[in-house]
Symmetry: C2
Subunit: 354 residues, 2 copies
């Protein structure tokens, strides 16, 4: 698969010689696989070139510079956040997504629904399974959401239901207040009038529409004002909408045997607001971004990592997709899988957009 991600600029890496790199890589690989602190002896059988004593010396210096941690004096070594960072930036060989995993995802995408929301939900389920972690998906953010179609349905004397089809076939509904009773015929007339004018406009474009002069000019003005207000709310909401799936996947990872830790993480995931801030702050122009442990800046996630990327539907429309799991995560596998799902989602959303 492709080259490893670029180094994160916020960490100053201590340069390592060839041998130290090889040892660090072996430690990460071993620990990721077993979950048990790895000692010099077990490394010596894999890296047969050097004796356990030599490796021991190297481990000591790797600990000194902060890439490894010793849970206690007589225990093996565990990668630190910094160690994972170095691994991810310089040592990791990304693995292709195995055909078996691709095939497992096919049923999810076979359904292929029209609405963007449904696609995202399916993607969340597929990614959660493929990465064996919690998946996170944001709605595609269009910098200015454009109207594709709108309709007005009479609810009662005082209210009408606005149905807004936005680009991407996102359907939004909202109740509008009518100043005075209006029957369905009037509403339909206004709707078709607006459809002629407003299609392709975003909320600011809508605000610049020429004042209406038709029979129902007064009502129309009021409604347009409310539509603009509602679209602004939609714009804001889009940023914070996060789907998630796969909390159950955390449970068979031994690091989450600690109920308190589990509690904190689930709280963060269910309270989508906090994640939204984190995700929108992520710098996603560089392919897959990996945030390891404390790098996320959230204390609750200090033992978790995020692997995020952007999916693109068309030129300017993009959303974020990724996973949240333990820092002890198979980064070499997860990155490509996130990227793979992002591609499929991008294509599916793009198709729904057409």
């Amino acid at each position: 698969m492709g080259a490893p991600s670029q180094p994160a600029s916020n960490v100053q890496n201590v340069p390592l010689d060839q041998r130290k790199q090889q040892i660090l890589k072996a430690v990460v690989a071993d620990y990721t696989r077993t979950g048990v602190p790895v000692g010099s002896a077990s490394l010596a059988v894999h890296l047969a070139t050097w004796s356990s004593a030599t490796i021991r010396n190297e481990l000591a210096t790797l600990s000194e510079v902060g890439y490894l941690i010793q849970p206690h004096t007589s225990a093996g070594r565990v990668p630190s956040d910094l160690g994972y960072r170095y691994y991810v930036d310089f040592l990791m060989d990304e693995e292709d997504v195995p055909p078996a995993v691709r095939r497992q995802m096919d049923p999810f995408f076979a359904v292929m629904p029209t609405s963007v929301e449904d696609i995202l939900e399916i993607a969340a389920a597929a990614l959660a399974q493929a990465a064996d972690a919690v998946s996170l998906v944001t709605a595609p953010k269009a910098l200015g959401v454009r109207i594709k179609h709108l309709d007005l349905v009479r609810l009662n004397d005082g209210q009408a239901l606005l149905i807004l089809v936005l680009e991407g076939n996102l359907v939004r509904q909202h109740a509008l207040n009518l100043g005075a009773p209006a029957d369905q015929a009037v509403l339909s007339a206004i709707a078709s009038g607006l459809n002629a004018l407003a299609v392709g406009l975003d909320s600011t474009g809508l605000a610049r529409l020429p004042e209406s002069v038709g029979t129902h000019a007064q009502l129309e003005r009021e409604l347009v004002a409310q539509i603009i207000a509602f679209m602004t709310v939609c714009d804001a909401q889009q940023d914070t909408l996060i789907l998630h799936d796969g909390v159950r996947n955390l449970l068979h990872h031994p690091e989450f045997g600690d109920v308190d830790l589990l509690h904190q993480v689930i709280e963060v995931v269910e309270e989508e607001r906090m994640l939204a801030a984190l995700i929108s702050a992520a710098d996603l122009d560089r392919g897959v971004q990996i945030m390891i442990g404390r790098e996320s800046g959230m204390a609750e996630l200090s033992r978790c990592s995020l692997v995020l990327t952007t999916y693109r539907a068309g030129a300017e429309r993009r959303g974020t997709i990724g996973v949240l799991g333990s820092t002890r995560m198979a980064y070499a596998q997860v990155g490509p899988r996130v990227r793979y799902v992002a591609q499929r989602v991008g294509r599916a959303v793009g198709r729904a957009l057409s």
Copy 2:
């Protein structure tokens, strides 16, 4: 508050004399509060009428008939599923929903959105908080879903987007295949034609519509067939849609310190399908139904209880709402809270229906 629920007919209850009842009730109350097996001595201070020895004898017979369980020889007693059942059916005094709890829920319902889905989501959040458990909400099932409004939006040469506003302001969208290219004007014409005929009809009513004879009769027929098919799918989906919230609430209950148990329960909750079957099988004509432990018939939920009720929006439209928590649950509080939220949801959905 109201009378306790009616006895479940599927359990044959051993009749208990006054004193045994009082003791059983005290055991349930104590255990619910503390989570620790309760012994004769601590009961004797509450029920000062009898000595610990007398209570000890009674506890022994309550264990014999299966209402209490002893975790081990030198431990106190814990209510069995049957014990909780007897308590719930005959002994429980339901508690009013405290003003503080009502007030805590107000912000949730203050928003009061138009769409049924949003209402349900909010209700799930409010109930999860009020009951300190996982909340479950199904969409209101209308025996035949009726069309309120429909619209067709051109997607591309081969497809149009159907927007269906159903009673309850449920908005559904679906892509329809056009036999031949049709521009938006044609689609709008068909849509307004159908709106004149189809409003108030359910899928079977739609099937009985007289054959169209207009200019676009051929296309219209094809579209109506697809609309009917889609509505049938909607009908089926409605049964299985379950919202949930509050998994985090399980985590601070000591019974879920066992990670395996937690795993099973979360799996069941995230895999909504299994719950759907259970909920639809529930007999909800009797107010609040309480399913205790193994009564649910699901091995994974053998240490959980469900408290479910129906919310009614209008005469024939109803959905299910309730909570899933540990068998050691404050049934006397949870029942009324579920009922309270059900009332508010019913009213809100009813309003959205208008």
